[in-house]
Amino acid sequence: MLDKIKQFASEFFVTGDPLILGAQVSIGLSMIAMIFVLSYFRKWGWLWREWLTSVDHKRIGIMYIICSIMMLFRGGVDALLMRLQLAMPNSQFLQAEHYNQIFTTHGVIMILFMAMPLMFGLFNIVVPLQIGARDVAYPFLNSLSFWMFFWGAMLFNVSFVIGGSPDAGWLSYPPLSELSHSPGVGQNFYIWGIQISGIGSLATGINFIVTILKMRAPGMKLMKMPMFTWSVFSSCIMIIFAFPILTVTLALLFLDRFLGAHFFTLDGGGNPMMYINLIWMWGHPEVYIVVIPAFGIFSEIVSTFSKKKLFGYKSMVFAMLIISLLSFFTWAHHFFTMGSGADVNAFFAISTMLIAIPTGAKVFNWLFTMFRGKIRFSTPMMWTIAFIPCFVIGGMTGVLLSVAPADFQFHNSYFLIAHFHQVLIGGVAFGYFAGLYYWWPKMFGFKLNEHLGKWAFWTWNIGFYVCFMPQYFLGLDGMTRRTYTYDFDMGWGPLNLVSTVGGFLMGVGFIFQVWQIAHSIKFREPDVTGDPWDGRTLEWSIPSPAPIYNFAVLPEVNEADAWWEQKQKQSLSAKQPAKIVYEPIHMPKNSSIPFLMSALWFFAGFGFVFNWMWLTIPALIGVAITMIARSFSYDTDYYIPADEVKRTEAALKGAKV
């Protein structure tokens, strides 16, 4: 009996590696610490009532952001481990297998569990406020989306200490990801972690499309929507078209592994190439899904910090919609070398290059907005400015890669690694950082410390170029991606060392950011205006943080920069605004179902991972029960009485003057 348990434990827990042991110990310790702190301060009830069951879009947004920062840490540690391994030739720091696991988890975590939730966090916090709405269209579904993301990400993350991580790359190409080549549970974690959180992403896509189409303040025509909202809209359109493809692809891979089906296997008539087509039909739009909202953020920031209307509003909207459309017709540029033939390659090469046109138009619009503007170099604006050269270089190397014959040379080399990090870090990560700095006061009612912010900014940026510029040359020298070690005589040592130093500099940048947040919380200087940047859109017209109902009275809108317009008018007329009549406000009630349902999904997924039907089946039945319970509950909303709104507003205004 004891032997059996020992045997089981040795398969169940990943052991034998000091790194992993360290991680296990630190996970254990931080869990104990968390439980202790929550119990000591009697915060369990508060946590449950105010956060875990909340359907308030602002709270959900904050939870997304917290999780994504933790994932940035985890993905960043992975990155630094890899860079450490590659710093010197013939390094013995990581074994090949371990290295494979690390680049796989790094890629997945950065894109799906860092960039996506950071993006959803900003959607949640900003969109309803920008369009003058009291909430998203489906608050309950919104909470469900968050928890599906959360539990999916947890399922993926436990693979590190339980059972073993996936190691077939972030897109899990077969046959590597098939049972024949990956018999362990790692791929199952990949499939279910992504599947569960992917359902949440799909639901968010639907939710925000409806929110944007149906919940805008009176007078806000589509062509008067703030640019960030437009970018969210484009991104969500891509989500609803791309994510179902991912769902199917993962489900089929699962059937291959679980029931011995032959979709992508080498035998039985399967076709691995079909997987590669399917996954990139999702994967390519996916990178645009995460970058388009960053474009929206830059548009907001450029216009606010230049004190000018955005240049070329209509062309910006048009460009974004074109990019969303084109992104679905470029997927094959990820495998020019895999024998699709010259015609097919030419089609995809041209469609890829076409994307550069609307993107270029956007860059010029930002530059024209800044031109002759009164520019203020606050941190959000600095990240925005830094983004432009970074993205231009990344874009150009991208066009180089899109030339099919050239790609035969660059394919899967470090040139590619440098290119996509340039657009992902320079575009997505910098963009979301800018957004985070910009909207932070709206979320919490105080600004982040600018001084530390500038330190973070410079270390990140310098680190970035030091890390990735050498990689272009390494790629041209023939170093391929996913190389875990190399010989002295390749001559790649010096450039790799430089690159690693750059990587660590970015790590220092991250530490500055954490320090910045801690420092700003400790020495908080409350922002009582609700409009610390002299903003232009509606979210700045209400106090920070916004009251639960956002707008006591729904605003009327005539222009894209609605709040700016209102401010101009107010300063022109000395008249006091007319007396406000408050009405009762209709709000959704909190619910514990999203948390419970997603936790049950976690257990169902965990059961699938280990092929434990005794766990999966009850968990799935539990999921069904929670769904039915929701369907049968009719008492899901309430009204905030007008008096209470009046009192809240008075209190908020009192703090204002």
Binding site: Y138, V210, T247, L252, H262, F263, Y582, E583, H586, A624
Partner: protein
């Protein structure tokens, strides 16, 4: 939304209306995503349907009489779900629940027949999901449709219970409208399955 606060009741009612139409709209978008989901499965089937790997072929497997019966049953159920909606609009609870019950029965017999078909294929022809890529794609596509129908059945039964309890309100009206939308959608998907998988398979 410029109502006076004094008419609390009227205001609340109006709001509810808004919310219900919002949910129907969202469901339409959900259906778009479901279209893409089925689209991907159809594409997979098209790519793999000739890879029979020495196993049984579509001509050998598909028994058209059964399939045609399934098709008629499902089409009829779509019609009866429409009658249920008509009943609802007339405010006729009996008609509404009655036709929903008929729809459930027809849907259940569709699923039953489909299951029998699958069991036959496995038992008599040894045609399992792991026999060939063609069969993997077949079971995935047709099975996903069957799963959708089954979920619809549970959902419909739940809805009938709610209707009994709460009567015809703005909320239950929307729920009936949504499920009938779903049901028609599954019908349309089935027509594609019937054509692409079965007809083209035996032709």
């Amino acid at each position: 939304m410029a109502h006076a606060a004094t008419q609390g009741g009227h205001h609340a009612h109006d709001h509810e209306h808004d919310h219900e139409s919002l949910k129907t709209f969202g469901f339409w978008i959900f259906l778009i995503t479901d279209c893409i989901l089925f689209g991907s499965l159809f594409a997979t089937y098209m790519v793999l349907h000739q890879n029979t790997n020495g196993g049984p072929t579509p001509e050998e497997l598909f028994k058209m009489p059964g399939i045609i019966a399934e098709t008629f049953i499902l089409l009829t159920s779509s019609f009866t779900s429409g009658l249920a909606v008509l009943g609802m609009h007339k405010g006729n609870m009996k008609q509404l629940i009655g036709w929903l019950a008929v729809t459930v029965l027809l849907g259940a017999s569709f699923v039953g027949l489909e299951l029998m078909e699958f069991i036959n294929m496995v038992n008599h022809e040894g045609a399992t999901i792991s026999t060939s890529a063609f069969l993997s794609a077949f079971y995935a596509l047709v099975g996903t449709h069957g799963l959708h129908v089954s979920v619809g059945l549970i959902w419909m039964v739940g809805l009938m219970l709610q209707l009994k309890r709460r009567g015809i309100t703005a909320v239950t009206k929307r729920k009936v409208a949504v499920i009938s939308l779903y049901w028609h959608f599954l019908d349309v998907v089935w027509i594609f399955v019937f054509t692409v998988v079965y007809l083209m398979g035996v032709m």
